[in-house]
């Protein structure tokens, strides 16, 4: 019986490289309840992006199982939305036409007016009203990432998979986007896996933070984050959050294979 919307059990995977197989994942377990938000952190190159590709059905694991909604993932599915560090907006399309792109694949029968209405709703939520007819190059990095978020949500996916989406932004813009993300979650029901290298981000956005070990990655540590749903940035400066960040910091050191005093 599968209760969680995302369920990853005992996943192992190795890439074939010129110098033989490179084990990347080894004993990965992740459970994300419906509507909940899982933040995944881990050392660079440990296999986080590989994890997103497995959940998205872009590749199959050598061993183990990936379940979405009680179904084995065997390939790509229309109920997934993806966002990357690079917003990958198409320069030959306006912002609104970029946002409706997934609908052209997922809902070929939907009328253009309906698609636009849906996209405008999202653009308004992220504060991009008035920019719908601009080209991506006319927007700032933060605005592009907002548009990219809209695109990954426009077809109302069950699962949102984000691979370091805010990684290339400056601190203030990143904090703005955290709040946008929090507001989107309240407005739309989706279950999220967020890859990040920012511990503060993982605590602010996540309902749980999953720490992966160094390559080959296994699930090293899972922290439940019990903060109110309507948390504001101020919560980041409270003692419970400081403690959580401290523990996560130590776990990352362990994952990187360094000695550490256990708290």
């Amino acid at each position: 019986m599968i209760e969680n919307l995302i369920e990853i059990k005992g996943v192992k995977h190795a890439y074939a490289t010129a110098s033989g197989p490179l084990p990347v994942l080894d004993g990965l377990d992740v459970s994300v309840p419906e509507g909940s938000f899982a933040a995944v952190v881990g050392p660079s190159g440990c296999g986080k992006s590989t994890l997103t590709r497995l959940v998205a059905g872009l590749m199959k694991p050598d061993e183990g199982e990936v379940w979405l909604h009680g179904e084995r993932v065997r390939g790509p599915r229309k109920t997934v939305g993806m966002a990357f560090q690079n917003p990958v907006l198409l320069e030959w399309r306006t912002i609104i036409d970029n946002v409706i792109l997934p609908l052209e694949i997922v809902a070929p029968r939907m009328s253009r007016a309906d698609r636009i209405a849906r996209a405008m709703e999202l653009l308004e939520m992220v504060g991009l009203t008035g920019f719908e007819n601009k080209r991506p190059s006319e927007l700032s990095g933060g605005m592009r990432q907002r548009a990219s978020l809209c695109r990954s949500l426009v077809h109302k996916p069950d699962v949102l998979i984000m691979d370091e989406p805010f990684g290339a932004l400056d601190n203030f813009t990143r904090e703005d986007l955290w709040q946008t993300m929090r507001d989107l979650r309240r407005a739309e029901p989706f279950t999220t896996i967020l890859i990040t290298h920012d511990l503060t981000e993982s605590v602010f956005l996540g309902d749980q933070v999953i720490v992966l070990s160094g390559r080959p990655a296994r699930t090293q540590y899972v922290m439940q984050v019990d903060l109110p749903d309507d948390r504001t940035l101020d919560v980041l400066y409270t003692p419970p959050v400081a403690d959580m960040l401290h523990i996560l910091r130590d776990q990352i050191k362990i994952a990187q294979g360094r000695d550490v005093e256990v708290h």
Binding site: R53, L58, P76, R77, K78, M82, L90, W92, L101, E104
Partner: protein, 252 residues
């Protein structure tokens, strides 16, 4: 807009003026170097021939170029999508491209004896498909994986990904290559018209000028060729504006 029209025209006039002055100062006779003022009479004298033969050159070039676009794009897709095909085809393509095309004219003329239009188009195609194939191939094979994945993660087919993402994304490179290919196709057409003369095209007119010692005619043909080349080039630029205008950055 004014600058875009006036500046090139002034440049051409300055060029013609310098040419005229050069011939005049050196007091060169016609058989050494015709001067611009000799050209209008030459054009006028053979105006029907210029129209008919110019058209023959132009349509055969355009057809050859069109086939080069179709075949070059198809080859580029194969190279771009399949690593095995890339490794297999690159040496062949590069080797083929390295052959001086003038040496192919007699070969082609012998294989397809008398098929003059076909031979000419074949040469225009042969000489011009390479840059198109390479640019499309490189454009597709260097597509960042994220661009593919945003649609692939939704279960889009390879063809949909090609149509919605890969193709539009490579259009700027494609048009860059098409500008080169258009000029090359011209060279191909003229090569056949001059090396294997069969009474058609501006190349044949050039040949007859040469045979009759009509030097102003020969220079007039060169100018006509340059003129056609410019027209074809700007036709490509026009298409580029329509289909890949988004890639143009505002000048700052």
């Amino acid at each position: 807009m004014l600058g875009k029209i006036v500046v090139p025209i002034v440049a051409v006039l300055v060029f013609l003026g310098l040419w005229e002055a050069l011939v005049w100062v050196n007091n060169w006779p016609n058989y050494k170097m015709a001067s611009p003022s000799d050209l209008p009479p030459a054009f006028w004298k053979y105006k029907e021939l210029f129209l008919v033969m110019g058209w023959q050159t132009l349509w055969r070039t355009v057809v050859g170029l069109f086939i080069a676009v179709v075949v070059g794009t198809a080859l580029g897709m194969v190279i771009g999508f399949s690593r095995i095909a890339r490794e297999a085809l690159y040496p062949l393509l590069i080797g083929f491209n390295a052959i001086p095309k003038a040496t192919l004219v007699p070969v082609i003329s012998l294989i397809f004896i008398g098929q003059h239009d076909f031979n000419t188009i074949l040469m225009a195609f042969t000489i011009s498909f390479f840059p198109i194939a390479v640019s499309v191939g490189i454009g597709l094979s260097t597509l960042e994986p994220e661009y593919r994945d945003i649609l692939r993660a939704l279960g889009a087919t390879r063809f949909t990904i090609f149509r919605k993402i890969a193709l539009p994304k490579t259009l700027p490179e494609f048009f860059g290559a098409l500008k080169v290919a258009a000029t090359l196709a011209f060279i191909g057409t003229n090569l056949v018209e001059i090396v294997s003369p069969h009474g058609r095209g501006l190349g044949a007119l050039f040949k007859s000028g040469e045979t009759n010692g009509d030097y102003p005619l020969m220079f007039a043909v060169l100018i006509a060729l340059a003129f056609l080349g410019i027209i074809l080039y700007y036709a490509v630029v026009f298409l580029e504006r329509i289909f890949a205008g988004w890639a143009e950055r505002e000048a700052t």
